[in-house]
Symmetry: C3
Subunit: 116 residues, 3 copies
């Protein structure tokens, strides 16, 4: 059983729809034959999904991906920068201290990197 390890880096609000489509396509493409470890790391303006009107539109898709095992991580530095209350982070998502450190750590663990 192959296991794909992939880190998606979302640093712009407008990259979310493409990122989610990418992940859906990827999971559909591999799911019959492989397991996956997918992390989505949102930093910089990527965290603005939490306060933007796009949130209500995209949350159901994100939640479904979370239920399938995709892990969503929000950078605490970016939350502070944009003064976003941590309570706004989805229940099913994580906060990481520094998004870049997380992305570097993941690549060191063998994760492929995708910038949508």
């Amino acid at each position: 059983m192959n296991q794909f390890k992939v880190c998606f880096h979302v640093s712009k609000l407008e990259d979310w729809p493409v990122a989610l489509k990418n992940i859906n396509n990827f999971i559909n493409d591999i799911s019959d034959e492989s397991e996956f470890d997918i992390k989505v790391v949102a930093n910089s303006a990527g965290v603005l999904i939490l306060t933007n009107e796009l949130r209500s539109e995209l949350e159901p898709t994100m939640k479904k991906l979370s239920d399938k095992g995709v892990i969503f991580e929000f950078c605490n530095n970016a939350l502070n920068l944009y003064k976003i209350d941590k309570k706004l982070v989805f229940d099913w998502a994580k906060v990481v201290k520094a998004g870049i450190t997380e992305i570097v750590r993941l690549q060191e663990l063998g994760f492929s990197y995708i910038k949508p």
Copy 2:
């Protein structure tokens, strides 16, 4: 003889000119001393090059790169999303089932990743 393995990820129409310039510069820089395995994976709005007026302007450059061994791959999910007939894919290019899977697979094979 060194062999460089590089995957260029083109997910936006406007990234094509820079991507092609990057690849040309790269090949010119290394070609005397090294071989290369270069894949250009177009997904999301990157596939719009096939139907955009930019096509006729860039196709000669792309074809020349293809003749030098660069492999251009178009994501079938993106072709479907934008309702682009596969017949529009250049004769000398490939269609891959899912662009993201291809990019991940390439990184697992040791390809470097470049987002132009």
Copy 3:
């Protein structure tokens, strides 16, 4: 002592502020426990920082990062493309022959790749 090796790829003028913030956050996050080898490779329109009014605003931050060991590299192909005199490259920065070759070489040396 862990050593983080990271390559930041700046190919657009407007990506500089986010890139510098990313690097600052990263260094602050890891500096107590780890060493780092950080290269910032500017190619394509990333080199326009040298002639843009943003230069005077960002240079102090860049210089501070340089003093901490971050290495800034400017692509000579891009300098030629935009007809930027090499004398405009910061004293504390480097010029590399081809930015893409440098980024590929760094990834082959085990550097993680970040596109801000």
